[in-house]
């Protein structure tokens, strides 16, 4: 039995033989192959998720390597999707990987989200996070959100009919109010913790086991060594997931939502 790669999950009551087959048939889009995407991709690949969409438009930079453990020193300058696919295939050559060097925007988000069973938001842009949220809600796909900065971060899971990111935050913050990872800095292990939590959430949703972070948000502060989970309800006036939604159609997304992710009145 130990000759079986996924033996340790097959003998886990929460996975079992049927669950492992479910993982093998599942597909997950990982949007962003950076600090969060690295552990997400490694652990979903290791766990045996049959097909992974690797979506990123960037190239590996030396300043990525303090946290993006999917890459190697010699990958600097290569497209991230290509380097990531190479790394994942040495872990398991049987994986099905779609290496998509694309920028996710209003024009392609529907095609991407529709093609996979679940979407992991591992991006570092608030506009893209809200775009993915809106697309996931409108297409009724589960979305696992994550974000990191400095020593910590957050994660939550958006399920069809559950509260969404706009129930919690409504609109993306003003760019003037947010610090980028470049300005504020980040410790690799912070993205490792949040990304691993995202991978756990993705597996639970695919397997339909346990209690996902739906209507709950996980906050991690690695510097204080503190982890909190708070609950949030569905907003009856949510611009995308309530009966009074104003964002109703991805083909008209540009008319309904500003490039910054704010709902047009």
């Amino acid at each position: 039995m130990t000759a079986d790669r996924h033996h340790r999950q097959r003998i886990l009551a929460e996975v079992g033989e049927a669950g492992q087959q479910r993982l093998e048939r599942a597909s997950v889009a990982i949007v962003g192959l950076g600090g969060l995407g690295s552990p997400v991709a490694l652990y979903l690949a290791a766990a045996g998720v049959g097909r992974l969409g690797l979506i990123d438009d960037q190239q590996v930079e030396l300043s990525n390597l303090n946290r993006q453990i999917l890459f190697e020193d010699c990958d600097v300058g290569r497209p991230k999707v290509e380097a990531a696919a190479g790394r994942l295939l040495i872990l398991d050559s049987g994986l099905r990987l779609d290496a998509r060097k694309e920028t996710v925007g209003a024009s392609n988000v529907e095609a991407i989200v529709a093609e996979y069973d679940l979407v992991v938001d591992a991006t570092d842009s608030f506009e893209t996070k809200f775009l993915l949220n809106d697309a996931a809600v409108l297409l009724r796909k589960p979305l696992v959100h994550g974000a990191v900065l400095r020593w910590g971060g957050q994660a939550t899971t958006v399920l069809p009919d559950g509260p969404c990111l706009r129930c919690l935050f409504r609109e993306p913050p003003d760019p003037a109010d947010i610090e980028t990872c470049e300005e504020a800095g980040i410790i690799g292990a912070a993205s490792g913790v949040v990304g691993s939590v995202q991978a756990e959430e993705a597996l639970k949703v695919i397997l339909n086991v346990g209690t996902p972070l739906s209507g709950r948000i996980f906050h991690h502060d690695g510097l204080r060594g503190e982890t909190r989970i708070t609950t949030f309800p569905r907003d009856s006036d949510c611009p995308v997931c309530s009966p009074r939604a104003r964002i109703t159609d991805l083909s008209r997304y540009d008319e309904q939502v500003s490039p910054r992710g704010h709902v047009r009145s």
Binding site: R5, R10, I11, L12, S63, L91, A189, F218, R224
Partner: protein
């Protein structure tokens, strides 16, 4: 201290650390000068080694006696298919070297036991426990205390994991678990299931705690254990204190060397 002592390449590689108030150039130099011993290069050791190497820890010792099996690759992401049936420490050393060629890696193919533990641990600043037996945890805890080294403990079982830091004088593994589990108790092994990302969370927190010890920043997980349940997705903190009656770090210790270790963990001897 001026940033000038970092090379241009280091300033780029560690740019995100240099921007952090708690690390900055002085903290990065401290990381580059530090040494960490990771005992066990499996589920917990994989993320711990990757994140410590990425962070620029100067020297990383990897100790494990085992070879890579196919069933390890479900969660031990430092290893690869190419490393199958070969030494874990050699495979891990290659991955770490490819990620950050600056790191000096000591690949130590050995079982840590009462004969070599003191000699091995004394060479490093911080010890990371990535082992999967109760026996090894008591041994490392005693050795780290006797050498007055911080020990970053992590363990997983099925869908749960825990992590804490033992700083000499503020409690040890024996203070947390005075009694070894009864003979025959189930521990992490090939017969116990585990979900792939669980050790990722625990091993990564171990790396973060190690970085905090080295850079002397933040609030370490000392005198508190963080407990994680993956299915419920909960994190809970349990506090503990140094036990004045602890045979190792208590007021009247009876463990003065690892030679005394066998007698103290006698109840476990039948299990190893």
């Amino acid at each position: 201290m001026p940033e000038a002592s970092l090379t241009a390449e280091q300033r780029q590689r560690y740019a995100r650390h240099l921007a952090l108030a708690e690390i900055g150039p002085a903290g990065q130099r401290r990381l580059l000068r530090s040494s960490v011993l990771i005992v066990g290069v499996g589920a917990l050791g994989s993320p711990a080694a990757l994140y410590l190497a990425a962070a620029g820890v100067g020297a990383i010792g990897l100790v494990d006696h085992d070879y890579v099996r196919l069933s390890n690759l479900q969660r031990q992401v430092i290893h690869s298919t190419a490393g199958l049936n070969r030494s874990k420490v050699d495979g891990a050393a290659r991955t770490v070297g490819a990620l950050n060629p600056e790191v000096k890696v000591d690949a130590i193919e050995a079982t840590v036991d009462e004969h070599n533990a003191m000699e091995l641990l004394q060479r490093y600043d911080v010890i990371v426990d990535g082992t999967d037996t109760f026996h090894a945890r008591y041994l490392l805890s005693d050795a780290a205390y006797l050498l007055r080294k911080p020990l970053v403990h992590g363990s997983i079982f099925r869908i749960e994991g825990q992590v804490t830091v033992f700083v000499p004088g503020r409690g040890c593994y024996r203070c947390l678990y005075p009694e070894p589990p009864p003979a025959g108790a189930i521990e992490e092994s090939e017969q116990v299931g585990v979900l792939a990302p669980l050790p990722g969370i625990i091993g990564t927190i171990q790396a973060a705690e190690t970085i905090k010890q080295i850079t002397r920043t933040g609030d370490p997980l000392v005198n508190r254990v963080l407990l994680h349940d993956t299915m419920a997705m909960t994190f809970r903190e349990v506090r503990y204190r140094r036990n004045p009656a602890c045979p190792t770090c208590g007021d009247r210790p009876t463990v003065h060397s690892l030679a005394d270790y066998r007698a103290v963990v006698g109840a476990e001897e039948g299990r190893a």
